[in-house]
Chain length 198, copies 2
């Protein structure tokens, strides 16, 4: 029997992905489950639906609700007090490329969590080279080398492929979780996904 | 201090409303909370967003996911095995009008649950007079009298007003729950709503 594992699909621009990113490794480890972090881009998913940006921006009442919901959920999950980002959704292409390039590095999950915190706790940019370099430097990693690697054609192609794979496997939003081919959508489903027995 | 109470806003066409309808009275009673059932129509909410029908129909991958999610949630909540309705979303205007007309009747919640079960357990129509009459008869109520009352101008206006009120108070989907002005959206938030202390 293979060791239990779960795939965590996310976009750095997604506030509900932030909630899952901050707890999934801890909660999975408590159950002996391995987590594979899979960054992808929501942009092509939204484009396919004819949306020019996040539904939280396009649908005013839903957007207002989501910020209130985040306030409550940050309290519930023991996270810093929620504040609405001054830019939403923030472009997330560059950190996603770095995360894809660094997928086998032991600091990859830390990198992702720090990008999320930068976006949703510190309300700072995440898509300029300087933004990403700051995160890499804080982790003791050579920023220039990773930024260069992030812009390699191989890395670009890999992120594109990963986004296409997301759609082919049924994803339509983030965060999403896959246990084998069993799909769970939303931070609200993380516990069900971790408890899923194929 | 007023007795704690919660408003349950729903549309008979909404499958996630069905999940909440089947458990809200029991779970609220266990906490000493009174529930006011508020039928409204999702149609005008979707129209405002430019949608001609449910997002579960318009967004194919999301729709496929939702049926799988319902299968899992019906098991989780101890409900009959889920089957996809042969018509979705079913028009819900007539039962909504009856529910509004019967809002002060002791059998109103039973009526609503039976309409939901007809739609989502029995896969039968809910919007023809004969459909609604069958539900009323099963409850020992005079079907003709209630169907007539459902079509009164007063009843029609009341449902319209209730739907407008829903939007004015920030609702954008169903089920939704209001504890005072605190809004919770989705069957996933029912427990949080019942536990909310203003």
């Amino acid at each position: 029997m293979p060791a239990p594992s779960i795939e965590f699909w996310f976009d750095f621009a997604s506030n509900y992905s932030y909630l899952s990113a901050m707890r999934i490794d801890r909660e999975a480890a408590a159950r002996g489950i391995a987590v594979t972090w899979k960054p992808f881009l929501l942009g092509p998913v939204f484009q396919e639906l004819g949306w020019t940006t996040s539904p939280f921006v396009l649908q005013k009442r839903k957007g207002a609700y989501v910020w209130r919901d985040m306030t409550r959920l940050c309290i519930k999950h023991g996270l810093p007090a929620w504040r609405v980002p001054s830019e939403f959704p923030r472009p997330s292409l560059l950190p996603a490329r770095v995360a894809v390039a660094a997928r086998d590095e032991p600091w990859m999950h830390d990198f992702c969590r720090r990008v999320f915190e930068r976006n949703f706790v510190e309300d700072r940019g995440i898509h300029q080279p300087d933004d990403v370099a700051e995160v890499l430097n804080a982790l003791g990693q050579p920023a220039d080398a990773w930024l260069t690697r992030a812009q390699h054609d191989d890395t670009k192609a890999r992120l594109r492929t990963q986004t296409e794979e997301a759609m082919q496997r049924g994803l339509f939003g983030a965060p999403s979780f896959l246990v084998g081919d069993e799909l769970f959508w939303g931070n609200d489903r993380l516990d069900d996904a971790l408890g899923w027995t194929p």
